[in-house]
C-alpha cells in the first residue's frame, strides 16, 4: 500500500505549498512504513524533478502528453487514478491549492476513496484506516476523522506542514496514460495573473488593513511596511467590497484563509468572520485605536493607538534599525 502525491509545477517552479506537501507525503510514507511515489504532470524539466530529492522524493512518475500541459480537473484526475492503480497506492496526498481541490473530489468518486480536506497535521495509520485532524467550522474548530476505505485521500490546509530537509536520489519514470475522454472538456479562453510582489496565500508575513484605514489613498504606508518586512498585503471584507483593494486580498470566512508566521492587522475590528480566515496564523499583532476592539482578544501583541501615527513610526524604526 504505497503513498502517492501529486506535485504541482506552477509557471516555472515548485512553490512552497507544493514542496511542503511533498515533504508531508514523505513523512506519511514513513509512518505507514511504505514507499512514496511522486506524480508530476506536464513538461517539467528532469533537473527540476531531481531537485525534489531534497524534499524526500525518490520515485517520480513523469506524465507527459497532450492532456498534461494545461490543468483540467477531469484529465488530471484521470492521470492520477491511473498512477494510483499502477503503484497500488492506498494513501493519496494533495496540496490545498485551488487546482488540487478541484480534482480531489473527482478522484474520490473515481476510486471510491475517503476524502479528507483541510488536513492540519500528520495522520495516525492503522492498516487501511487513517485518522487525521482537519479544520471545521471555518477555523472555529477541528474535527478528527477516521477513514474506512481502500484508498484515503488527504488534502492539506494552508501551512499545515513545513518542509523537512532530506537528501534523496531521484529516479524519474516516464508515465504514459491517456485519460479516457468520457467527459466534455473545460476550455480555457483567457488567463490573467495579478502581479503582486509577494503572493498572499504563500506569504510568511501579511500586513492587513481594515475600514480604520479610512480610504484607498492611505494604503501607501501599509505597502511600505509590507515591503520592509517582506510581507504581502491583505484586507477585510468591507475594504474589498468598497473597492479600496482587490477582492483577491480579502481574507476571512468568505475570503481566503491564510496561516502566515505573522499577521499584522491595522484598523480591523476583528469580527468573528474575519478571524475565521486568519486565526491559524502563528503570531497575530493588532493596531487599533479602540481598546475594546475584539481583535485584541485574539492577538499576541497589540498597540492601542491611531494607525496614522503608529504605522509611520514603525516604518521609521524599521528603516533606521539595521
Amino acid at each position: 500500500m504505497a503513498v502517492i502525491t501529486y506535485i504541482e509545477h506552477t509557471g516555472d517552479r515548485f512553490k512552497k505549498p507544493a514542496l511542503d506537501t511533498l515533504s508531508y507525503a514523505r513523512e506519511v510514507a514513513a509512518l505507514a512504513s511504505t514507499t512514496l511515489t511522486v506524480v508530476s504532470i506536464g513538461n517539467v524539466p528532469d533537473a527540476a524533478l531531481e531537485e525534489l530529492g531534497k524534499y524526500g522524493a525518490t520515485r517520480v512518475l513523469k506524465a507527459t502528453g497532450e492532456k498534461c500541459n494545461t490543468y483540467d480537473s477531469q484529465a488530471f484526475a484521470g492521470i492520477l487514478s491511473a498512477a494510483v492503480e499502477k503503484e497500488n497506492a492506498g494513501i493519496i496526498i494533495l496540496s490545498g491549492s485551488l487546482s488540487a481541490s478541484g480534482l480531489a473530489p473527482r478522484l474520490a468518486v473515481k476510486l471510491n476513496a475517503a476524502l479528507v480536506t483541510e488536513v492540519t497535521g500528520l495522520p495516525e495509520i492503522n492498516g487501511q484506516q487513517v485518522t487525521v485532524q482537519r479544520n471545521a467550522f471555518s477555523g472555529k474548530a477541528f474535527a478528527t476523522v477516521k477513514t474506512n476505505a481502500g484508498v484515503s485521500i488527504l488534502t492539506l490546509a494552508p501551512n499545515a506542514f513545513t518542509t523537512v530537509p532530506r537528501e534523496e536520489k531521484v529516479e524519474i519514470v516516464p508515465f504514459n496514460s491517456s485519460p479516457a475522454n468520457d467527459i466534455p472538456a473545460v476550455i480555457v479562453k483567457e488567463t490573467s495573473r495579478e502581479t503582486s510582489a509577494v503572493s498572499l496565500p504563500d506569504a510568511e508575513r501579511v500586513i492587513s488593513g481594515g475600514r480604520g484605514m479610512k480610504g484607498p489613498e492611505n494604503w501607501g504606508m501599509l505597502e511600505e511596511l509590507a515591503t520592509l518586512l517582506g510581507a504581502a498585503t491583505a484586507c477585510s471584507k468591507p475594504v474589498s467590497d468598497a473597492g479600496w483593494r482587490p477582492h483577491a486580498e480579502h481574507v476571512g470566512q468568505t475570503g481566503i484563509t491564510i496561516a502566515p508566521d505573522l499577521y499584522l492587522a491595522v484598523g480591523i475590528s476583528g469580527a468573528i468572520q474575519h478571524l475565521a480566515g486568519v486565526s491559524a496564523s502563528r503570531v497575530i499583532a493588532v493596531i487599533n485605536k479602540d481598546p475594546e476592539a475584539p481583535f485584541f482578544k485574539a492577538a499576541d501583541y497589540g498597540i492601542v493607538g491611531d494607525a496614522f501615527e503608529v504605522v509611520p513610526k514603525l516604518i521609521e524604526a524599521l528603516k533606521k534599525g539595521d
Binding site: 473530489p105 476524502l115 477555523g139 466534455p184 473545460v186 495573473r193 496565500p201
Partner: protein, 245 residues
C-alpha cells in the same frame, strides 16, 4: 432552462461553536441556521439567469426536516420549487450521490453549488456531483454567463483569474462575487409557503469515513500591549521574542 441549486443549511456566521456528547456532536442548541452564504449567492445568480431568459430554478437539500425553514427561505428568494432528500447529510460522498441521482432523473441544464459549506468546509460536493454525472466541473467561480447552449465562466486560479468555456450540463462551485445577496420581499415570503417542497427518500451509499470527535483551537495567551508612544518595541518583540521578522 432548468437550473438546480444545492443548498446547505449552516450555523449563522456569528455562532460560537461548541460541542456536546463528549465532543462528538455539534451543539445546535440556540443556534440559528441560515442558507450557506456561498449557496445564497449561487441561488441569486441562478435567479438572475432564469429571469433573464425563460428558466426555472429548483433548490435541493439533503437533510432532515429541520432544514425546512432554510429551504422556505430559498423559495422566498425566488426559487420555483424545492426537493429535499430525506436523510441526515452524513458526508460529501453521500450528499453528492443523492443530488446526482435526482439530477440524472430530472435533467438540468446546469447545477450550482457553493464553494464550500461554512460548517464542514469540504469544498467537495460540487466536483463530486460532476464526477458521478460525468459532466464538466468548474470550481471557485466568480462569474457565470450562459449563451447559446454554452457557458462562459470566470474562475479564480492561484494568483489570478481565468475565463473558461464549457458545454451544458455542467456543475459550478460559486465563490464571492458571483452575484449580490437577494433579500426576499413580502410577496416572496407569502408565496414561499405554498410552493412545492418535494421530499424524496435517500439511496444507500457506503460510509467511507466518520468524524470521531471535535475540538476547539486553544486560546492564545494574554495579549502583550505595547504603548502607542513607542511602537518600535513591537518590532523588537516580533524580532527577538516571536522571531517572525
Amino acid at each position: 432552462m432548468k437550473i438546480l441549486v444545492c443548498i446547505s443549511s449552516v450555523p449563522d456566521t456569528t455562532t460560537k461553536i461548541t460541542f456536546t456528547s463528549n465532543n462528538t456532536e455539534f451543539n445546535t442548541s440556540g443556534v440559528q441556521f441560515i442558507i450557506n452564504p456561498y449557496d445564497e449567492i449561487a441561488l441569486a445568480r441562478a435567479l438572475e439567469i432564469a429571469e433573464g431568459g425563460d428558466g426555472t430554478v429548483t433548490v435541493i437539500h439533503v437533510g432532515t426536516a429541520e432544514a425546512d425553514p432554510v429551504i422556505r427561505k430559498a423559495l422566498a428568494m425566488g426559487a420555483a420549487n424545492a426537493i429535499r432528500v430525506d436523510a441526515p447529510s452524513r458526508d460529501a460522498f453521500f450528499v453528492s450521490r443523492q443530488i446526482a441521482s435526482v439530477a440524472e432523473k430530472e435533467g438540468y441544464d446546469f447545477i450550482l453549488c457553493g464553494r464550500e459549506s461554512i460548517d464542514y468546509n469540504g469544498a467537495q460536493v460540487g466536483p463530486m456531483i460532476s464526477e458521478w454525472m460525468k459532466v464538466p466541473s468548474v470550481s471557485a467561480v466568480k462569474k457565470i454567463n450562459i449563451n447559446e447552449g454554452k457557458a462562459l465562466l470566470e474562475r479564480e486560479i492561484e494568483g489570478g483569474r481565468e475565463i473558461v468555456e464549457t458545454s451544458l450540463p455542467f456543475v459550478a462551485s460559486c465563490s464571492e462575487g458571483v452575484a449580490e445577496v437577494r433579500i426576499p420581499n413580502m410577496r416572496g415570503i407569502m408565496t414561499a409557503r405554498t410552493k412545492p417542497l418535494q421530499v424524496v427518500p435517500a439511496e444507500d451509499v457506503p460510509r467511507l469515513q466518520e468524524t470521531a470527535s471535535f475540538s476547539v483551537p486553544s486560546a492564545r495567551g494574554e495579549v502583550t500591549l505595547i504603548d502607542a508612544s513607542e511602537p518600535e518595541k513591537l518590532i523588537q518583540l516580533l524580532r527577538e521574542e516571536a522571531k517572525v521578522i
